[in-house]
Symmetry: C2
Subunit: 196 residues, 2 copies
């Protein structure tokens, strides 16, 4: 069980069965139906979440109460409210399932005890954070340099099947445009494709 998580650790650190089973004992498994909130704004974000199956989003509400999606997470991804989880302050984000999902969650105390017992996990999470920072950096650069159309194509390249899993409403929110604009972008692209 939970082979996905073990495989993910194995990408960056060597792990014995004993180390992994200790590690796994610190995680809380959870199943959640589609449209379940795992975190609401203002709560303390207790868990770092690994997605074994399913799909989640993290979003923030603007002044008018409109949601804006900051992250998606599918199989093999981690998701949390970084700010709240690492500092213990109230969360800015909502975290919600977009599909029926199967998750493994770990709280900070457990994570710290994992680091204390097997320092190699500190290495794994440092590398994870490195990759996370790189991805966020890319995202900022993309939003600064790309038009809506380019940005959409960039997203498709990163997550080829995303339109089959996630509705355009959510994708447009992630891109920072309205569903109508995304629809028009797609219509324009389809027209171009037909011509060539």
């Amino acid at each position: 069980m939970s082979e996905r998580l073990k495989a993910h650790f194995a990408r960056h650190i060597d792990l014995s069965d004993a180390e992994y089973s200790f590690c796994l004992s610190l995680f809380v498994p959870r199943r959640a139906r589609k449209k379940t909130f795992l975190l609401q704004e203002g709560e303390i974000c207790k868990y770092l979440i690994f997605v074994e199956k399913g799909c989640l989003d993290a979003h923030v509400l603007d002044d008018q109460g409109e949601p804006h999606i900051v992250h998606f997470a599918v199989e093999d991804w981690w998701i949390t409210d970084d700010y709240s989880y690492w500092t213990g302050n109230p969360a800015k984000y909502f975290i919600e399932t977009l599909e029926d999902s199967q998750l493994l969650m770990i709280d900070r105390d457990s994570l710290e005890s994992l680091f204390a017992r097997y320092p190699k996990f500190e290495r794994y999470f440092r590398i994870l954070l490195q990759n996370h920072a790189v991805a966020l950096d890319r995202r900022i650069a993309a939003s600064l340099t790309m038009s809506a159309e380019e940005h959409y194509l960039y997203l498709l390249k990163l997550y080829p099947n995303i339109t089959q899993r996630i509705s355009l409403k959510y994708i447009s929110s992630y891109l920072g445009i309205t569903p109508e604009s995304l629809s028009r972008v797609r219509a324009r692209l389809a027209k171009k494709a037909r011509k060539s």
Copy 2:
């Protein structure tokens, strides 16, 4: 010397003089005049840079060759091309001094040997990356939810004196708008301030 760096480490980990002097021996000090490029797109980013004095930016060029600033770094900040530094692939960013600056730089091999000798530094850099991720996350949320005016005010709150150090041209680039738009935003805000 280099008290700033030591103080910065001390925020998160306890450090003996011996540990710090070993650590410091791994850093390369450098002074650079204003408008010096420390990294160009396509190069491998060799160094993680700590700013002792001065001010730097990291920017990316779009299709039309226009620069877009992704990061600023002033005293006590770290700056690098995360992607290139951690993966060894060619950089996407240019890193440039905006003022005469005094820097401490460390390459990856040295950083790894630091981690190997004193694992507490791995902890420091994990925390650093956590904070970095939080800041990037916030930045993405800001760009999704805020108008140009709100975004500018948000930046001013984060870096109160930034307009005294960094020209509006660079600030507008960071915000993802043109210098003309920023100028108009400021004119509007000044008008509001006069009325109240």
